[in-house]
C-alpha cells in the first residue's frame, strides 16, 4: 500500500538544517559516523513522501541496511544492529536529505511502508484510547465501577502511605535544619559532604528523592566560593519552607500542593496525565535543549514555547547513563502537538501528547497523520479542519531550503527578570524561568576586556566616560563576570557563574552586535542555551574562562 501523496506541497522546501539533524545524534561518534554516510555514494533507493524518508545504505555486509524515518516524530527504523538511537544510517540519510540534492518523491517501498503504516495506526489507536479515556471520565465510568473502585482504593492507600513516610522524613529534615541553625552555619564548610550525604540518604529512605537532591546540593554550596553562607542560608530556608509546606500539604491550595508534592519527589504518572489533563494544542517552537548526565541517568530537557498561547513548556526525557534519551526534537522545529502540563502552581513541565506535524521555524509544515487527508479524517475529525487550514496557510509560503528561520520574539533583560519574579510568586522554589531575550549583547568578563585593552583595541562607546567605569569597578567588586547586556547598554543580566555553555561561541556569533538568546533566567543569573544567527544555534558546552 502507498501513502496518500500531497502533490501540492513542496517537500524539499522544508528540509531541516544539517545542524538540526546533527543535534539528534546521541553522541559525537554518531555525528561523525553519520557524516560519513551523508554523501549519495552509499545510498540507493532513496525517496521522500508525506514526511517520511527512506533509503538503502550499503555497508560492509552483502545486504544493504534499510533505513526509514518518520519526520513527524522524528522516529527512525533501521535494519542495522546498532543500539545507538538514531543510528548512523538514520543520521546519514537525514543529512543527505538536509544538504544534498532533493530526493525523489516516490512511493515508499513495502519494507518502509509497513513500518510507517504500523506507526501511524498505532498513533491512531493511542489517540482513540485517549479520546476514550476522556469519554470515560466524562461519563463517570459507570460500568465496572466496582473493580476499578477497589483498585483505585488500593492505589490511594499506597500513595497515602508514601506521603506519610515522606512527611516523617520532612520532620526529620526540619529537625536537622534547625539544629544546624542553632549551632551556626559558620563551620559548615569544614564538615564536608559527609553529613549532607547522610541526611540525603535518610531522605531517600523516606522516599523523598526531591528532598534528597536538595540536601545534596547544600553540601556543594559550602564549596561554591565567596558568599556561600548567604547562599546556604537561602537554600536551607527554602528547604525548611518545603518540608513545612509538605507537612501541611492538605491545607494548601491544590496547585501549590501539587508543586510541593512534585518538589519533594512525588511523581505524576505520565500516561495518566495524558489521559486526564486538558491538552494544550499549539504550534510549539523548540527553543532549547540541554542534556545532563549524573553518572546514572542522562536527563534531556527540551524547552518549547507555544506560538499562539505564548506558554513555555519543558519536556523531560531520560536515558541510561551515556545513552541519549529518545526524545529528539531539534531546536528551531515547530511542532503542532498537544501538551499536557503536569499540575503545578506554575505549570512548566509537560508531557508530549498527540503530534499533528512539524514545521521548521516558520516554513512549510511537514504534515503528519492529521493533515494528510485519509488518516486525518479517521483520527481527529474535530480538529482536522483547523489543521488543514494551518497547513494550507503554511504550504502557500514555501521556503527555499536553508533559508534562515526567523528568531522568535523576545524581551529585554528587565522584563526577563520580572518574568522570573512573577513565576516565583507561584512557586517560591523556582531557581530559574525560561525566557527569550531579544537584542542583547554578550559582554565578556573583566579579564577578557583587560586582554582587549592590552591589545590596544577600542571598546564599545555607548556607555559613559571613564569616570562611570571607574565607579562601577570600585563599587561592584565581584561583578566582573560575563553579562548579557541590553542593546541600549544600560542594563545587563549576569551570566550564571555555573553556566557551562560555550560563551565564546555566543560571543563569536554576536560579534558585538545584539542578538536573540534563549535560556534560563534565575537568581544566579542567566544561562544561555540557544542563540539565533538567522537559524538557531544550540550552544555547545565548553569552558568560557578567560586566561589560564
Amino acid at each position: 500500500m502507498g501513502w496518500p501523496s500531497v502533490v501540492d506541497m513542496n517537500w524539499q522546501g522544508e528540509r531541516w538544517t544539517a545542524e538540526q539533524v546533527l543535534a539528534l545524534a546521541p553522541d559525537a561518534a554518531s555525528q561523525k559516523a553519520g557524516g560519513k554516510l551523508s554523501s549519495p555514494a552509499p545510498w540507493s533507493g532513496t525517496g521522500v513522501r508525506d514526511g517520511a524518508l527512506w533509503g538503502l545504505c550499503s555497508g560492509s555486509g552483502s545486504k544493504p541496511y534499510q533505513t526509514v524515518i518518520d519526520l513527524s516524530g522524528p522516529a527512525y527504523r533501521c535494519s542495522c544492529p546498532s543500539r545507538k538511537f538514531p543510528c548512523k544510517h538514520a543520521l546519514g540519510l537525514l543529512l543527505l536529505w538536509a544538504t544534498e540534492e532533493p530526493m525523489p518523491d516516490a512511493e515508499a517501498p513495502p519494507w518502509a511502508a509497513e513500518w510507517l503504516t504500523g506507526r501511524r495506526e498505532r498513533a491512531e489507536r493511542e489517540a482513540a484510547s485517549y479520546a476514550g479515556a476522556q469519554g470515560a471520565d466524562a461519563g463517570e465510568g459507570a460500568a465496572g465501577a466496582g473493580d476499578d473502585g477497589a483498585a483505585a482504593r488500593r492505589r490511594a492507600d499506597r500513595i497515602e502511605q508514601r506521603e506519610r513516610r515522606i512527611a516523617a522524613g520532612a520532620t526529620e529534615l526540619e529537625q536537622r535544619l534547625t539544629d544546624l541553625i542553632r549551632d551556626g552555619l559558620a563551620g559548615a564548610d569544614r564538615s564536608g559532604y559527609a553529613q549532607w550525604d547522610e541526611t540525603a540518604a535518610r531522605m531517600v529512605d523516606a522516599q523523598a528523592p526531591g528532598l534528597a537532591a536538595r540536601v545534596r546540593e547544600l553540601g556543594a554550596i559550602t564549596t561554591s566560593g565567596a558568599g556561600w553562607p548567604s547562599r546556604l542560608l537561602e537554600e536551607c530556608a527554602l528547604l525548611h519552607l518545603l518540608s513545612e509546606g509538605f507537612q501541611r500539604v492538605a491545607d494548601l491550595p491544590a496547585p501549590l500542593a501539587a508543586t510541593a508534592r512534585t518538589r519533594v519527589g512525588l511523581t505524576t504518572d505520565t500516561a495518566e496525565l495524558l489521559a486526564t489533563a486538558e491538552p494544550v494544542r499549539d504550534d510549539w517552537l523548540v527553543l532549547g535543549r540541554q542534556d545532563s548526565d549524573d553518572g546514572k541517568l542522562t536527563t534531556r530537557r527540551v524547552w518549547l514555547r507555544g506560538e499562539r498561547t505564548g506558554r513555555m513548556a519543558l519536556l523531560l526525557s531520560f536515558g541510561a547513563a551515556g545513552r541519549a534519551p529518545e526524545l529528539a526534537l531539534p531546536v528551531g522545529l515547530v511542532l503542532d502537538a498537544d501538551l499536557a502540563y503536569y499540575p503545578a502552581a506554575r505549570p512548566l513541565r509537560a508531557a508530549l501528547g498527540r503530534r499533528y506535524g512539524t514545521t521548521n521555524g516558520g516554513g512549510a509544515p511537514t504534515p503528519a497523520v492529521a493533515s494528510t487527508p485519509e488518516p486525518a479524517a479517521a483520527v481527529a475529525p474535530a480538529r482536522s479542519a483547523g489543521a488543514d487550514a494551518a497547513s494550507a496557510a503554511h504550504a502557500g509560503a514555501t521556503r527555499a531550503a536553508g533559508a534562515p528561520a526567523q528568531a522568535p520574539p523576545g524581551v529585554d533583560v528587565s522584563t526577563a527578570l520580572a518574568a522570573y519574579g512573577t513565576a516565583l510568586r507561584d512557586d517560591p522554589w523556582l531557581d530559574a524561568w525560561p525566557v527569550v531575550l531579544s537584542r542583547v549583547v554578550p559582554v565578556p568578563d573583566a579579564a577578557a576586556l583587560e586582554a582587549l585593552a592590552d591589545a590596544g583595541a577600542p571598546r564599545g562607546g555607548q556607555r559613559g566616560g571613564g569616570a562611570g567605569a571607574a565607579t562601577e569597578s570600585a563599587t561592584r567588586t565581584g561583578d566582573d563576570g560575563w553579562q548579557l547586556a541590553d542593546a541600549g547598554g544600560t542594563f545587563a543580566l549576569p551570566i550564571d557563574p555555573r553556566c557551562t555553555s560555550n560563551l565564546w561561541q555566543l560571543t563569536a556569533i554576536s560579534g558585538g552586535a545584539p542578538l536573540t538568546v534563549f535560556g534560563e533566567c534565575g537568581h544566579r543569573g542567566f544561562v544561555p542555551l540557544t542563540v539565533w544567527n538567522g537559524a538557531p544555534v544550540a550552544l555547545t558546552s565548553g569552558t568560557h574562562r578567560t586566561g589560564p
Binding site: 551556626g184 552555619l185 513545612e244 516565583l424 545587563a492 556569533i509
Partner: protein, 622 residues
C-alpha cells in the same frame, strides 16, 4: 550576588510579615541561634531556629522576586564586517565534523577509515580558494584547532577572517592569531595592522612587543614594501642584534632593487648573522652590486678552454678569502673536513646570478653549459653550487637543465656517479646560504661520503647524483613539469625514494604522476611486501591523488591471491590500505563538491581553480 537586590526598597506584599534585614538574619545563622538571638520573634512554641529559617525563606523569595538587572559593563566594539559569502550548508557541516574529529583525537582507530585530521588543511585552503568565510558559530573551534596545530594557522585564520581576530583579542588563549595575520589574504582588509593609520603604526612600532612589531612589519611589508622599509630604517641602528636579524629577514617578502641600499649597508652590520642574511638577500637581486661583485669573483675562477679541440671548463678556486669577500657574506672557515678553497668557490658560485655564466660562456644555454666537461673533478662542486643558485634565484631554466643532466635524468640508473667530488661535496641543500647553514660537511673523499652528507632525505641507494637536491630544484619548475619528472622517476625507481619528491608536487597530482604512483603501489603489493613500508607515500597519496582515480583504485581493494614469496598476511593489509585510500579519495571528492555547491549568497566567487599547493613534505625555498 551579582544581580542587584532590592530587599530594602519595596515593602513586602500585603499579608506577609515584614522581614528582618538579611544581614541580621545571616549573622544570627552564622553564629547559631544558641549564641545570638535571631532578629525575628518566634511564635509561641516555635524554635527560634525555625523562626529564623521561616523569616529567611520569606526574605529569600522577596529578594529573588525583586531582583533588578545589573549595570551593563562596556563590551568590545562590534567586530568588523566580513562580506565574504557563507559556506554552503553541507560544507558547513563538514567543517564542524573536521573540527570535532580534531577534538576527539581518538580518531584513526580504524585502519580503513579516512584520517579526517589530515584532510583539514586541504579543506581549509580549498574553502579559502572559494573565498568563503567561516560560520561564526565555529570560530572558537577553528581557533582552538589553529592553536593546537601551527600548520593550520595561516589557512584557518584566513577563513576565520576579521571576526576571529576580533574574538582573539578577548581571549589570551588565541593570542597567536594576533601575531601574524593571514599571510594568504594579502588583500584582506582585516589583516592586523591594516586598519592602523600611520600614527598607530608608528606607536606599535615604537612601543610594541617584539612579536607585535614583527607582525606589524610583515603585514606592512605585504601592503607597502617601501613603507615597511622606511619604518625599519628609522630605528635600525637602535635595534638589538637578534631583532635586526628577524626584521631583516622579513624583507625577504617583496624584495626588490629598491631595498638594495638599505640591505647593502647591513653588510657592515656588527652581527655576523645579520651580515650573512643581508648577503643572501642581495645575492637574490641579480642587479645588485653584491651580485655583480660575486659574479666578478666567481667567473674569474671558471674558464672555458679548448682541450685537444674539445671545450672544457677548468676551475681555479680562490686562493684566499679576503675581507671584501667576507663582507659580502662569504664564510671563511669551512666546516670540518672540507677544503677551504672549494668551500669558498661554492659560496661564490651560489651567490652569482646564473645569467652571468651564460654571458661568460658565449651565450650557451644552461643545458649546454652543464654538458661541458669539467677538468680535474670539479664538476660535482660546480654543479652543486649552480643547483643552489638555481634554487635561490628560482631560475627554472637552470633547474630544468640540472634535473635533466645525465646525472639528473629521472630514468637514469641509480648508480654511484663517477667519483667526482674532489674534496668532498658539500650538502647541496643547505639552502639558507648563510652562516653555518651547511650542516655536516662531508669528509674529503668519495661519493659515499657525499651521500652520507645528504642525511635522511634520500636513502643511500637513491643518492645517485649526490650533488643535487632534486626536490628543491623541482620546486622551481612549473607544476606540470614537476609531476612529469617525478612520474618518470617513480616509473624507474619505484616509490621507496619518492617521498620527498612527491611532497613538492602540487595537489592534486597531475597525470601522468597519479597513474605512476598507483602503478607503483600495485607493483609493490604484487611484490609481497607489507604496505607500511610505504605508509609515507600512502599517506601522501590519500591527500594528493586526484579523487577521480578512486574508481581505478577500487579494484585494488579486493583481496588478491597472496604472492608465493610475499610476506604472510600482507595482501590483507594491502586491501585495507587501498580501502582507506579509496575512501579518502571519495571523501575528498565529496568535500570538493560540497564547497563548489551554490553558497548561501548567490554571488559566490568564480571557480578559482587549483593554486600552488603541495602535499606537505616541507621544502624550504632557499
Amino acid at each position: 550576588m551579582t544581580l542587584t537586590d532590592t530587599s530594602a526598597a519595596p515593602p513586602a506584599p500585603g499579608g506577609v510579615r515584614p522581614v528582618a534585614d538579611w544581614g541580621d538574619l545571616l549573622a544570627a545563622a552564622l553564629l547559631g541561634t544558641d549564641r545570638r538571638t535571631p532578629p525575628v520573634a518566634a511564635r509561641p512554641g516555635q524554635d527560634p531556629a525555625a523562626a529564623l529559617l521561616e523569616a529567611a525563606a520569606i526574605s529569600t523569595v522577596q529578594r529573588r522576586a525583586g531582583l533588578r538587572p545589573a549595570a551593563a559593563r562596556r563590551g568590545p566594539a562590534p567586530a568588523p564586517a566580513d562580506p565574504r559569502p557563507d559556506l554552503p550548508p553541507a560544507a558547513r557541516v563538514r567543517l564542524a565534523m573536521l573540527l570535532t574529529e580534531r577534538a576527539g583525537s581518538g580518531g584513526g582507530g580504524s585502519r580503513t577509515a579516512p584520517d579526517l585530521a589530515e584532510l583539514l588543511p586541504q579543506w581549509l585552503s580549498a574553502a579559502n580558494r572559494h573565498g568563503y568565510r567561516a560560520p561564526s558559530a565555529l570560530l572558537p573551534a577553528l581557533l582552538d584547532a589553529a592553536r593546537a596545530r601551527t600548520d593550520l594557522r595561516p589557512a584557518a585564520l584566513t577563513l576565520a577572517g576579521p571576526r576571529a581576530l576580533w574574538l582573539a583579542r578577548l581571549n589570551p588563549d588565541w593570542k597567536f592569531a594576533l601575531r601574524g595575520g593571514p599571510p594568504t589574504g594579502a588583500s584582506d582588509p582585516a589583516a592586523p595592522g591594516a586598519a592602523l593609520d600611520a600614527a598607530a603604526t608608528q606607536r606599535v612600532w615604537d612601543e610594541g612587543l617584539f612579536a607585535e612589531r614583527v607582525a606589524l612589519l610583515a603585514s606592512l611589508r605585504r601592503r607597502d614594501p617601501a613603507a615597511a622599509l622606511a619604518l625599519l630604517a628609522r630605528t635600525w641602528s637602535t635595534e638589538r642584534a637578534e631583532d635586526r636579524l628577524m626584521f631583516l629577514d622579513s624583507l625577504r617578502e617583496g624584495l626588490s632593487q629598491a631595498d638594495e641600499p638599505f640591505v647593502e649597508q647591513a653588510l657592515s652590520d656588527r652581527s655576523r648573522n645579520v651580515r650573512s642574511t643581508a648577503a643572501e638577500l642581495l645575492s637574490a637581486l641579480p642587479d645588485s652590486a653584491l651580485a655583480a661583485r660575486m659574479a666578478a669573483r666567481s667567473t674569474a675562477c671558471v674558464t672555458l678552454r679548448a682541450d685537444a679541440g674539445r671545450p672544457v671548463l677548468t676551475v681555479a678556486p680562490p686562493a684566499s678569502c679576503d675581507s671584501e669577500m667576507e663582507r659580502d657574506g662569504v664564510i671563511a672557515k669551512p666546516p670540518s673536513g672540507r677544503g677551504e678553497r672549494a668551500w669558498w668557490l661554492g659560496q661564490l658560485v651560489e651567490a652569482t646570478p646564473l645569467d652571468a655564466w651564460v654571458e661568460r660562456f658565449g651565450g650557451r644555454t644552461p643545458a649546454q653549459i652543464l654538458a661541458l666537461p669539467v677538468a680535474d673533478d670539479w664538476q660535482a662542486e660546480l654543479h652543486a653550487a649552480w643547483g643552489r643558485a638555481a634554487v635561490r634565484q628560482r631560475n627554472a631554466d637552470w633547474a630544468r637543465a640540472l634535473l635533466n643532466t645525465p646525472e639528473g635524468d629521472p630514468s637514469a640508473p641509480l648508480t654511484d656517479p663517477p667519483a667526482t667530488a674532489p674534496q668532498g661535496a658539500g650538502h647541496p641543500g643547505g639552502g639558507q646560504g648563510g652562516a653555518g647553514a651547511h650542516p655536516g660537511g662531508a669528509p674529503a673523499g668519495g661519493a659515499s661520503a657525499a651521500r652520507a652528507a645528504l642525511g635522511g632525505h634520500l636513502s643511500p641507494t637513491a643518492a645517485g647524483p649526490s650533488w643535487r637536491d632534486p626536490a628543491k630544484l623541482l620546486a622551481v619548475l612549473p607544476a606540470a613539469e614537476r609531476a612529469a619528472w617525478v612520474a618518470e622517476f617513480i616509473a624507474t625507481h619505484g616509490l621507496s625514494d619518492a617521498f620527498r619528491l612527491l611532497g613538492v608536487c602540487t595537489v592534486p597530482w597531475a597525470e601522468p604522476l597519479g597513474r605512476a604512483v598507483v602503478d607503483a603501489l600495485d607493483i609493490a603489493r604484487d611484490a609481497g611486501s607489507y604496505p607500511w613500508s610505504f605508509s609515507g607515500v600512502m599517506g601522501l597519496a590519500e591527500r594528493c591523488l586526484d579523487p577521480a582515480l578512486a574508481d581505478r583504485l577500487e579494484v585494488l581493494t579486493a583481496i588478491a591471491e597472496e604472492p608465493r614469496d610475499g610476506a604472510p598476511g600482507a595482501i590483507g593489509y594491502w586491501s585495507e590500505a587501498f580501502q582507506r585510500l579509496v575512501g579518502t579519495l571519495r571523501l575528498r571528492a565529496t568535500m570538493q563538491a560540497e564547497l563548489a555547491a551554490a553558497p548561501d549568497q548567490p554571488d559566490g566567487a568564480p571557480d578559482p581553480g587549483e593554486t600552488e599547493e603541495t602535499g606537505g613534505a616541507e621544502v624550504s625555498g632557499a
